[in-house]
């Protein structure tokens, strides 16, 4: 199948989804991120590699946190950064997505970090821009959030070294989660032998098992002997509806507490893409425990995004 994120030489021209990336490509990104991680530990946390390039954060859907991590990443690479909250500007005046992007291209931006509430938005933009423009998908609808998938893989590699013996459990709203989809693809490509998804039937998408996962409805069974537990955020608007009756019931049936965490391996790590709902999907004590790697995930996220930007911006078609 035609994969719009690769150029004719098979190199990464855009980062749109994890799906379709080779294991080698993912490893290359993780290795590069490892180098950038060191930069974040220096006094001068900046390298000149993207000096003179312009990175444009175009957020059709608001997200201060994600935008900030991309902004820091771009600035540490010495790129000029423009932030555009389209959710509150031209879109409401009837301008199309392509018009918005083409206007920014006319201002000579090189890399676009795009977030949009509609699945496929980043693919759509990438297939309609000039070849020397690079698109990074920072989340499109329920489809994909590839840099989150990569930073989660990076985090797991940091703590677990070897992917091919792991049991990874993903817990929560799989149905609406682009993070879960990106992680499922990434872990499968990296050779994780057992990926479990744990959720009530109302929060699981159709035929999810065809993406290469084992489905559990009982969290206690699903967490047994897990090496990695990835908690997902439950959006408030999913509560008190037809998907879930209440926060309290969700926390009781699917929330991660210490008793449940003890069912996993002793050295299991707990991850969360943030922002967390303490007391809804995760107990505060667990979130702050030694097993939690939620804050390191944020640090690693910057290095991974630096790696992605540097690799893409150095790509010529």
């Amino acid at each position: 199948m035609f994969n719009p994120q690769l150029n004719s030489k098979g190199n990464l021209n855009h980062l749109l989804s994890i799906e379709g990336l080779s294991k080698e490509k993912i490893i290359q990104i993780l290795d590069t991120a490892e180098s950038f991680l060191k930069i974040g530990e220096r006094d001068v946390k900046k390298v000149p590699i993207l000096r003179g390039k312009t990175v444009c954060n175009v957020f059709f859907e608001n997200s201060t946190r994600t935008r900030t991590t991309f902004e820091i990443a771009a600035k540490r690479l010495s790129a000029d950064v423009i932030n555009l909250n389209v959710a509150t500007s031209s879109q409401s005046k009837g301008e199309t997505i392509l018009d918005t992007i083409n206007n920014l291209i006319a201002m000579n931006a090189d890399v676009f970090v795009v977030r949009h509430s509609s699945s496929g938005a980043a693919h759509f933009i990438a297939t309609h821009v000039k070849p020397n423009i690079h698109i990074i998908n920072a989340g499109d609808g329920n489809h994909s959030h590839p840099t989150q998938g990569l930073l989660d893989a990076f985090t797991i590699r940091k703590y677990k070294t070897n992917f091919n013996k792991l049991k990874v459990a993903i817990v929560g709203d799989i149905l609406h989660s682009r993070v879960a989809r990106s992680n499922i693809h990434a872990l499968n490509i990296l050779g994780v032998p057992e990926i479990r998804v744990i959720a009530p039937k109302t929060l699981l998408p159709y035929e999810i098992e065809k993406l290469g996962v084992h489905v559990f409805h009982d969290i206690d069974k699903g967490l047994k002997d897990a090496d990695v537990i990835m908690m997902l955020r439950i959006q408030n608007e999913r509560m008190d509806g037809v998907m879930l009756p209440s926060q309290e019931e969700y926390f009781k049936t699917y929330g991660l507490n210490q008793t449940r965490l003890d069912l996993a391996k002793k050295d299991a790590i707990v991850m969360h893409p943030g922002p967390m709902n303490r007391g809804v999907e995760i107990d505060s004590a667990v979130a702050d425990s030694d097993q939690s790697v939620i804050l390191p995930q944020v640090t690693f996220g910057i290095a991974v995004r630096m790696a992605v930007m540097a690799i893409l911006a150095g790509q010529h078609s």
Binding site: G120, D140, N142, Y206, I208
Partner: protein
């Protein structure tokens, strides 16, 4: 004026004809049908050697986008596109702008289309006002103005009481409902078939039960109220099973399928190809195979083009924000021929489903080549190779899942009411 169509392979399913014959058209009617008719009888001769001569196609679902905000597609451009596909009978659904729910609008459409002399337009009137699924339209008045049946287009009635009452009312006057079976609650905000592909792409899925629960409800109420029902664009294997059983039980129901569902599945969406955004959504291979079986066994009565031209700008959007629909009037007959060729299905059986069967569903005496019937004829060249692209398509809608593909077989001439309305090559 008289026209003699010579040396063609004449296929007329109604009269069980599939033979090399000549046809003489005189006084806008089929005058003679025989071997070796004398060329002197006609003022104009069409050489149809190696071509198929068949009744003009009657398309049960053809969006003419009239009335409408005529950004590009106009009544004339789309009727001409239909002619280029051999279509002379055009059933258009009521989801136009404004919605076809008033007699005046229907009369205007009828007058405008009659003046163009490019085909018979059969409007479907809105069953409920503004298609809101709540209040009935003036059904008798709309019928008098020229509506051939009543439809909700892509806006299924959610309220079962309204569905029940509307069927009672239609049945009172022996009028027919043309409905697409879909449960509006289950399919709300749904974009593509529910399954691996929708999960992979993160697009909201529409399940088969969205179609089957609606079929069950419609058939049960139709049976109870003795209402004539035609179901448009069935897409699921399970739905076809229900219809097959209903037919066996004597319920007065017919159905059609769109040409897209015969050739495509949700797998063709690839990475968000908006040209594959259709309603109903493209289903799975399992459904596609069942659809072909059901065409052969007669569960499916007719095949429609579901021609829905979309302005380019409205396809240039992220998948779920783009507009559904595909331009297909010109592809219907070539794809029917391809279906026959690839699956070894009798061509006459398939042509029946785009000519005589639709005419039966509409209760009009058309779609055949009987002597003295009106001369609506399609001449199809099965050997003509062409590429589907924005230049070869006559419709203003250049959006089709088959874009840039090669086809063998193209309509070469179309005759409507004794006049040549399309002459291709």
């Amino acid at each position: 004026m008289s026209i003699l169509i010579k040396n063609g392979r004449v296929i007329d399913p109604k009269n069980n004809i599939d033979a090399d014959l000549d046809i003489l058209i005189a006084d806008r009617k089929i005058a003679e049908l025989n071997k070796n008719l004398d060329p002197k009888k006609a003022t104009q001769i069409i050489d149809a050697s190696k071509k198929i001569v068949m009744p003009g196609i009657i398309d049960l679902q053809l969006n003419l986008r009239e009335p409408g905000n005529q950004y590009k597609s106009t009544l004339e451009s789309e009727m001409k596109a239909a002619n280029a596909g051999g279509i002379t009978g055009m059933v258009c659904p009521p989801d136009t702008t404004p919605i076809l729910d008033e007699p005046g609008l229907v009369k205007m459409l009828k007058n405008k289309s009659e003046a163009l002399k490019l085909g018979n337009v059969y409007p479907l009137g809105a069953l409920t006002q503004k298609l809101n699924g709540k209040l009935l339209t003036e059904i008798n008045d709309l019928y008098e103005s020229g509506c051939i049946g009543f439809s909700q287009a892509e806006k299924p009635i959610q309220d079962t009481e309204v569905l029940y009452r509307s069927f009672q009312y239609l049945s009172t006057f022996n009028l027919k409902a043309f409905l697409r079976a879909e449960d509006a609650y289950l399919s709300e905000k749904g974009i593509i078939n529910a399954g691996e592909i929708s999960t992979r792409l993160g697009l909201k899925g529409i399940q088969s039960i969205s179609e089957t629960t609606a079929i069950n409800k419609i058939l049960e109420i139709a049976d109870l109220t003795k209402t004539k029902v035609h179901l448009n664009k069935i897409s699921t294997a399970e739905g076809l099973n229900l219809i097959k059983i209903a037919k066996k039980n004597g319920i007065n129901v017919t159905c059609d399928v769109s040409i897209h569902q015969i050739f495509l599945t949700d797998n063709d969406i690839g990475f968000f190809n908006t040209n594959c955004f259709l309603k109903p959504p493209l289903r799975k291979e399992f459904d596609r195979v069942k659809i072909i079986e059901s065409i052969i066994d007669g569960t499916i009565d007719a095949i429609c083009s579901d021609h829905s031209p979309v302005n380019e700008d409205n396809k240039l959007k992220p998948f779920a924000e783009s507009e559904y629909g595909a331009s297909s009037a010109e592809l219907l007959m070539p794809l029917i021929f391809k279906l026959s060729d690839e699956n070894k299905i009798d061509l006459s059986l398939l042509i029946n489903k785009i000519t005589y069967q639709p005419s039966n569903i509409l209760e009009i005496n058309k779609g055949n080549l009987s002597i003295n019937s009106g001369a609506d004829i399609c001449i199809f060249d099965p050997e003509h190779p062409w590429e589907i692209n924005s230049k070869t398509l006559i419709s203003e809608g250049k959006n089709t899942p088959f874009l840039n593909q090669n086809l063998t077989g193209k309509v070469s001439s179309t005759i409507f009411n004794g006049n040549i309305v399309f002459n291709g090559h």
